[in-house]
C-alpha cells in the first residue's frame, strides 16, 4: 500500500514539475528584456592657459557619469530600473548629483484601454506648460515623478490621465514636508478618432485640458504661503488640409517662490503655433508669452530641479560649435517672443537648384522681456511679499533677450560633394541669460561652411569652417573641424576653436582637441583629448554651465 502511495506521489510530482517547467518556459518565451548603458568619463589635467592649476583641481583628477537602464516586458506587464553613478560628477554637472544607486524603479500594467504605473514615471500634459517630467542625460536633469500614474481610454479618441507623486531631487529620498506633492489630471479628445464621421475629414480637431496642483506645507514664519497651488491649462489643435494651428494657455494661482522673489502675482503662459506644409515648401510661425510661470514642487529651490512645468523654447536650436556658443535659456519670470521659419526646396534641374536641387531655410526668432508696471505708488516692481507687478498681455518690453536671424543652404554639388552653408546674426542678452549684470548684449555675425567629400561609399571627409565676429564678450572666434569617417565603424576628427579676437592677449587661446570613435552595431566608443572651452549647454531652453577643462574624455554607450 505504501509503495502505491509513493508511486502516486512520484507521478504527481513529475506532472507538477512538468507543468511548472512548461509555465516557466512559456513565460520565458514571452519575456523581453531591453537595456541601455552609457558611461562618460573625464580625466582632468592642469592647464595654465585656461587658469586650471593643480590646486584648483584639488586632487580631483577624474569625473564619471554613468547609467544603466533595464526594462522587462511580459505581455501587458513591464517593469524596469535605472542605475546612475556620478563619481564624481563631470565638471559642469550639479555637485548635488554626486552619488550612485537606483533612483528610478517602476512597474506597469498596460491593458487595451487602461494602464497603471507605480514607481518612477515620466509624463507630459499637452505642451508641458503645467506638467512635464523628463530625463535629459546631457544636462544631468531628471524630474521624474515617483508615485502612481493611471491612464484610461474608455473609447478610442478620448484619453484620461492622472498622476500623483513626488519629484526626484538628486539623491534625496522624499521625506515629510521636504518638498511638495504633485497631483494632476488631463483629458484629451481627438474628434477625428472619436467620431467616425470625421475619420476621413480634412478638418482635424484635438481638444485637451489639464489641471495640476502641488501641495507643500507652509513653514515660513514671515509670509503666508499658499500650501495648495493649482495650475490649469486648455489646448486645441486644429488642422485643415496643409494648415495646422496648435495653441495652449495656462494659468497658475499665486505661487510665491525663490525664483519669483516671493511675489503673489498669478502666472500665465501662452503658446501658439501655425504651420503650412506642401511639397517643397514649409512655413512655420510661433508666438509665446510667459509671465511669472516658474512652477516647482519646492518653492525654495533655485537649482535646476523640481520643475513641474516645462516652457518650450521658440528659438531654433543650433548645433555647430560657434552657432551654439550663445544659446537662449527660457526666462520663466517673463518673456514674450515669436518665431518664423521658411523651408524651401529649390527643384532639381532648375537654374538655382542644379542637378540635385537645393534646400533653403530661413529662421527668425526674437524674445523680449514683458512689460512690468507698479501695482501701486508705494510698492517697487517685483517687491517681495507683494503682488509684484501688473503686465499688459500683448506688450513687448524694451529689453531684447534674444534675436536670431539665420539662413541655411543645403546643397549637393555632385555625387561626391555636398555642403551646408549658414549665416546667422544673433543678439544675446548675456546680462539676463547668464546673470552677468552690466555686460552689454552680444551682437554677433556667424558663418559656417560644412562640406562633405565622399571618397568611396564607405570613406568620406567632412570639413567645417566657422567664424564668429563680435565686439562684445570674448570677441572674435574661428573654428575648424576635420572629420574622416570609415563607415560604418570608425571616425577620426581634429578640431580647433581659436578665440583670436579676445581683448585680453593671454586669453587668445586655441582649444585644440582630437577624437576618434568606433561603432559596432549599437555599441559606441568615443575618445576625445584636448581642451573644452567654457560655455553653456542648453536643451529645450534648460541650460547648464560648463567650465573650461582640459584632458581626456571617454564615452561608451550601448543598448539592446
Amino acid at each position: 500500500m505504501n509503495k502505491l502511495k509513493i508511486v502516486l506521489l512520484l507521478i504527481l510530482t513529475i506532472i507538477g514539475v512538468n507543468t511548472v517547467n512548461a509555465q516557466i518556459s512559456d513565460m520565458l518565451n514571452r519575456s523581453e528584456v531591453h537595456g541601455s548603458f552609457q558611461v562618460d568619463g573625464q580625466y582632468y589635467q592642469a592647464d595654465n592657459a585656461l587658469g586650471i592649476t593643480d590646486s584648483i583641481l584639488g586632487g580631483r583628477k577624474m569625473g564619471l557619469n554613468g547609467f544603466g537602464k533595464i526594462t522587462y516586458n511580459l505581455g501587458k506587464f513591464s517593469a524596469g530600473m535605472r542605475y546612475e553613478a556620478y563619481l564624481t560628477p563631470i565638471a559642469g554637472f550639479d555637485p548635488a548629483l554626486e552619488g550612485n544607486g537606483f533612483p528610478n524603479l517602476w512597474a506597469s500594467y498596460n491593458d487595451d484601454n487602461f494602464s497603471v504605473t507605480v514607481g518612477s514615471f515620466y509624463e507630459q500634459f499637452g505642451n508641458g506648460l503645467v506638467l512635464r517630467t523628463y530625463e535629459e542625460w546631457a544636462l544631468g536633469y531628471d524630474n521624474a515623478l515617483n508615485g502612481v500614474r493611471v491612464t484610461y481610454e474608455p473609447v478610442r479618441g478620448l484619453l484620461f490621465k492622472g498622476v500623483y507623486g513626488t519629484q526626484r531631487y538628486f539623491w534625496d529620498k522624499f521625506e515629510k514636508n521636504d518638498r511638495g506633492i504633485v497631483r494632476g489630471v488631463d483629458a484629451e479628445m481627438d474628434f477625428n478618432t472619436l467620431f467616425t464621421g470625421m475619420t476621413n475629414s480634412k478638418f482635424r480637431f484635438v481638444l485637451g485640458g489639464s489641471m495640476v496642483s502641488k501641495y507643500q506645507i507652509d513653514e515660513n514664519p514671515i509670509y503666508k504661503l499658499p500650501e495648495n497651488v493649482a495650475s490649469f491649462a486648455g489646448r486645441a489643435n486644429i488642422g485643415y488640409g496643409k494648415f495646422n494651428i496648435s495653441t495652449e494657455y495656462a494659468y497658475k494661482i499665486n505661487d510665491p517662490s525663490a525664483i519669483n522673489n516671493y511675489i503673489y502675482k498669478e502666472g500665465q503662459a501662452f503658446l501658439a503655433s501655425l504651420s503650412y506644409s506642401t511639397k517643397g515648401l514649409g512655413l512655420f510661425a510661433q508666438f509665446k508669452r510667459i509671465d511669472n510661470f516658474s512652477f516647482r514642487s519646492d518653492r525654495d529651490v533655485t537649482a535646476n530641479a523640481l520643475d513641474i512645468s516645462y516652457l518650450p523654447p521658440i528659438s531654433e536650436s543650433h548645433t555647430y560649435a560657434l552657432t551654439s556658443m550663445y544659446p537662449y535659456a527660457t526666462q520663466p519670470n517673463g518673456e514674450i517672443g515669436f518665431q518664423f521659419q521658411v523651408n524651401y526646396k529649390v527643384p532639381k534641374k532648375s537654374k538655382l537648384g542644379g542637378k540635385y536641387g537645393m534646400g533653403i531655410a530661413i529662421n527668425y526668432s526674437q524674445i523680449n522681456d514683458i512689460v512690468r508696471n507698479k501695482v501701486n505708488d508705494t510698492t517697487a516692481i517685483n517687491q517681495k511679499g507683494t503682488l509684484g507687478y501688473t503686465s499688459d498681455f500683448l506688450k513687448f518690453g524694451d529689453r531684447i533677450f534674444w534675436r536670431d536671424l539665420n539662413i541655411s543652404i543645403n546643397k549637393k554639388f555632385s555625387k561626391k560633394v555636398k555642403g551646408i552653408f549658414q549665416y546667422m546674426y544673433q543678439t544675446y542678452d548675456i546680462a539676463t541669460i547668464e546673470g552677468h549684470p552690466g555686460e552689454p548684449a552680444v551682437n554677433s555675425h556667424i558663418a559656417v561652411a560644412d562640406v562633405n567629400y565622399k571618397f568611396t561609399n564607405r570613406k568620406s571627409l567632412r570639413i567645417e569652417l566657422q567664424g564668429l565676429w563680435t565686439k562684445e564678450d570674448m570677441g572674435d572666434w574661428a573654428a575648424i573641424l576635420l572629420e574622416y569617417t570609415i563607415s560604418p565603424h570608425w571616425f577620426f576628427s581634429v578640431t580647433d576653436q581659436y578665440n583670436y579676437g579676445n581683448a585680453v592677449k593671454a586669453d587668445q587661446i586655441h582649444y585644440f582637441s582630437a577624437a576618434f570613435g568606433y561603432t559596432h552595431n549599437t555599441t559606441r566608443f568615443q575618445f576625445n583629448y584636448g581642451r573644452q572651452r567654457e560655455g553653456i549647454v542648453c536643451i529645450g531652453g534648460v541650460c547648464r554651465q560648463v567650465p573650461a577643462s582640459s584632458g581626456l574624455s571617454v564615452s561608451i554607450s550601448t543598448n539592446f
Binding site: P154, D172, R183, S213, E219, N220, P221, I222, N382, P437
Partner: protein, 279 residues
Amino acid sequence: MKIFKILSLTLVIAFVFSACDKVEAPYQTGFDCESGNQNVLIEDYTGHTCVNCPGAAVTAHDIKSNCEERVIIIAVHAGYFAEPLEGTEFDYDFRTPTGDVWNNYFGIISNPNGLVNRVNNDGNYILSPGQWAAQATKLLAQNSPVNISIKNDFNTSTNKLSTTIDANFVDAVEGNYNIVVCLTENNIIKPQKNNNSSIGSVPEILEYEHMHVLRKVLTQQWGNELLNGSVAANQKISKTLELSFDGTDWVAENCNIVAFITNVSDKSVLQVNESAVIE
C-alpha cells in the same frame, strides 16, 4: 453613459484638486519670539559680485526684524563671488581667512547660501535663503542650556578692544564645546551687484550698505575650548579676548562682537549672542 460617468468623476477629482489656496493681503505674518531661549545664528555666505545676494540679505534682515536681538547675522564674504576685481569698483577685499575655511568646510559652492545654527540636515549644512526662516523659527522655540553675555570695553586711546564672554549654564551640560568670537561690522558703503530692482539699482548698487560683515575671528577658526567634560547648572565659564583695531579700516562704532558656542563634533551652535563694541 459610461463617458458621462467618467467625465463626472474627472470633474470631481478636478474639484478636489482645485482646493487651491488663494492668499489675500496682508501677506506677512509674525514670529513667535517669546517661547524658548535659543538664539539663532544666520551665516549668510555672500559676495559683492553675487547678483542674488542683496535679496538674501533682505531675507536675513526680515527674519531679524521679527525677533531682533534673538537673531544674529554674520555675512561671510567668501568664494568666487567675493573675490576682489582689480581695476573695477569691486576691488575691495571683504574676505577673511576664517571665512574661506568655513566656506570650504561647509561645501558652499554657490551664493547666496547659508547656515542656520550650523544645523546638519542629513549631512548637509547648507540652506538656501528661502529655507532660513523656517529653520530659524523652529530653533527659536527651543531651549538652550546656556546663555551668553558679552561685555565689551573699547579703549579709544589705544584703539584696543577687550571683550569678556560669559557662558552662563542654566542646565548641566556634558561634552566638548568651543567658543567662537567674531567681529562684525555694519554700514560699510561699497558696491554690490544686484538683480532685484525692488532693493536697489540694477545691475549694480554703487553705494550699497553692507551689514554684519565678518571682519575677524578673535578665537581660532573653530573656536577656543570652553568645556571638555561637564559643568553643573548655574555655573559660569568666562573668556576674555583682546583685539587691536590698529592698521585696519574698521569703524568701532559700527562693529559688534558675536560669540557662539559650538559642539566640537558636529559644529552645531548651542547658543549665540551679540553686543556692540561701543554701546
